[in-house]
């Protein structure tokens, strides 16, 4: 609420220009520490405008949060000589590690296909796959499978109707980030649409960072791999010795 109040004062003192987004986040940094078990981010904002609110078509809001993109390979199993083997593979050039779309109504009603294509909003459009070999005719099945597997792990989310809009001006939603989260800058986009057309777009980033012990171990493992490896061994050896010593005391 504190955020909301400060934020409302902020937008009311601004000179009004057009229909534009002013945004607030409950936090712009997600810290991954040892006890990290997922997180929730509250995204809220308001529409700043100089003209009176147009009655029709109604204002819709779309929020997307997208994790760092990576290149992945989707493989398919087939039965060969009685056993299930990976046969065909399709490379996906760019798949976000996390992707969530939240809308104020059905995505199809908030956004035309052309606009979706231009801004890459829906999940299938957020994935870019061009590298399907000619031998594979049903390449779309591979991207479908990618979306299906990622959705099951809550890493791809389509949350239709989860943004609430008050008086066509204030909007808010919550995005749930799963426990299996990778580090990086999570690009957050807010679209205002009317009649399926994007009338305003706003971009910001949520920073997902490992902190404390997690950060230290991760850095050490990349920057001083040999020391990290030796440390792992030292811990293993001393734990083994300790257990044996403790048990000897028990028996004595």
């Amino acid at each position: 609420m504190r955020y909301l109040a400060a934020f409302l004062i902020f937008i009311l003192t601004l000179p009004a220009l057009a229909e534009e987004v002013v945004l607030g986040l409950s936090k712009d940094t997600v810290s991954i520490d040892t006890s990290f078990d997922g997180s929730e981010i509250l995204i809220f904002g308001a529409v700043k405008r100089e003209a009176p609110i147009p009655a029709e078509p109604r204002l819709q809001v779309i929020v997307t949060v997208s994790g760092p993109s990576e290149e992945v390979v989707v493989r398919r199993k087939e039965k060969r000589l009685g056993i299930w083997v990976n046969t065909d593979a399709v490379e996906v050039d760019r798949a976000p590690s996390f992707y969530a779309v939240s809308t104020s109504t059905l995505l199809g009603l908030s956004l035309t296909d052309t606009e979706d294509l231009r801004h890459r909003v829906s999940i299938p459009r957020a994935i870019r796959s061009v590298g399907a070999p000619d031998t594979i005719e049903d390449a779309t099945k591979f991207t479908d499978a990618l979306i299906r597997i990622k959705s099951k792990a809550n890493q791809y989310q389509l949350n239709e109707g989860t943004i609430s809009i008050d008086e066509q001006t204030l909007f808010r939603t919550a995005i749930k980030l799963p426990a299996a989260l990778t580090e990086g800058d999570y690009k957050t986009r807010i679209f205002l649409t009317r009649g399926g057309n994007v009338i305003s777009k706003y971009e910001t980033s949520i920073y997902v960072r490992k902190v404390g012990l997690e950060r230290w171990l991760f850095k050490l493992s990349r920057e001083n791999a040999l020391i990290y490896g030796l440390m792992s061994l030292a811990i293993a050896i001393s734990a083994g010795w300790l257990a044996s010593a403790v048990f000897r005391i028990f028996r004595a």
């Binding site: 520490d33 040892t34 006890s35 990290f36 078990d37 997922g38 990576e70 290149e71 992945v72 390979v73 989707v74 493989r75 398919r76 199993k77 087939e78 009685g82 056993i83 299930w84 083997v85 990976n86 593979a89 490379e91 099945k141 591979f142 499978a145 990618l146 299906r148 597997i149 990622k150 426990a179 299996a180 989260l181 580090e183 490992k210 012990l213 997690e214 950060r215 171990l217 991760f218 493992s221 990349r222 791999a225 040999l226 990290y228 490896g229 030796l230 440390m231 792992s232 061994l233 811990i235 293993a236 050896i237 734990a239 083994g240 010795w241 300790l242 257990a243 044996s244 048990f247 000897r248």
Partner: protein, 303 residues
């Protein structure tokens, strides 16, 4: 209690990992196997990325084997001389195995080959051990004295060496060869190789079962330490937090397991190990034969 693993980048239940480590540790201490062939598939199931599971498991095996060896050293059931000979072969084999692994990776299908390796080796070894120990149990029950070990071709080879603890006077060639082949398999399959080493020592080298366990653990420490370093420096996939959780359970389990193992008869020990190997083999075989629920899988891009 959920805990976030820094390298695996997933959040898992800490008590689940402690429990898994403990159970596998007991088995490790009882049978002289590192337990990697059990733990690695279990880690896959709870959602640890395969590359991290394989590398971290190697590190955990170092801990449980070290704990087990200390217990065996006190009992004087480690043949250090034989262990060293096996180790020399093992390290050569591990280095060769990495080359073979990278070659298979370039051909694709490395997953399948690893799984086939598992099924074939576990099946053959488990089956042979099962039949042999069943016969041994039957013989002791009927009161017949076990047949004396026959001299075979192994005893005709040169470079003979005396292995006092094992009560053997044999050529060093067979142990080195056993070491090399186990080393290769260990690197490819991401395990310590105890489940291959133990039967090889019993049946090929004719070592007494009581000595086999400690000696196998002794050489596993070094082979897995080598593997851990290799993974940590080339693939950055050793997750120390995961390893610590597994090994806390593992080292305690190994101590308990060693004490159970000492109280049991050699044949019983072998038949139990055989059964366990066969169960894992069956599970992996089913995975290959039954239609998977999800035909597609996502992997990191790499060429």
């Amino acid at each position: 209690m959920q805990i976030y693993l820094p390298i695996a980048e997933v959040s898992v239940n800490a008590f689940l990992l402690l429990g898994l480590g403990g159970i596998v540790g007991v088995l490790s201490g009882m049978f002289g196997v590192g337990g990697g062939f059990l733990m690695t598939p279990l880690l896959f199931i709870i959602g640890i990325p395969p590359a991290v599971a394989v590398a971290t498991e190697a590190n955990q095996i170092v801990a449980s084997s070290f704990s087990g060896v200390l217990a065996h050293l006190k009992r004087k059931t480690v043949d250090l001389r034989m262990g060293t000979v096996l180790l020399v072969g093992g390290l050569i084999g591990a280095a060769l195995g990495v080359v073979v692994f990278n070659y298979l990776k370039a051909q694709g299908q490395v997953d399948l080959l690893v799984k086939l390796c598992y099924v074939v080796f576990l099946g053959v070894i488990g089956g042979l051990m099962f039949i042999e120990s069943l016969n041994a149990i039957r013989k002791t029950k009927s009161g017949k004295a076990p047949a004396r070990k026959k001299h075979n071709w192994i005893h005709g080879l040169p470079f003979k060496m005396r292995f006092r603890v094992s009560g053997l006077y044999i050529s060093v060639i067979p142990p080195v060869l056993v070491g090399i082949s186990v080393g290769i398999l260990a690197a490819i399959m991401g395990v310590g190789g105890g489940f291959i080493m133990v039967p090889a020592m019993i049946y090929l080298l004719g070592m007494p079962t009581k000595v086999v366990v400690g000696t196998s653990l002794f050489q596993i420490i070094f082979v897995t330490a080598f593997t851990t370093l290799l993974h940590a420096t080339t693939n950055f996939t050793v997750d120390i937090v995961l390893a610590v959780l597994l090994l806390v359970g593992g080292v305690i389990g190994a101590q308990i397991g060693t004490r159970i193992g000492v109280k049991m008869k050699a044949e019983q020990l072998r038949i139990l190990l055989a059964l366990m190997v066969l169960v894992v083999c069956g599970k992996l075989a089913l995975d290959l034969l039954l239609m998977p629920a999800e035909l597609y899988s996502i992997g990191a891009a790499g060429h």
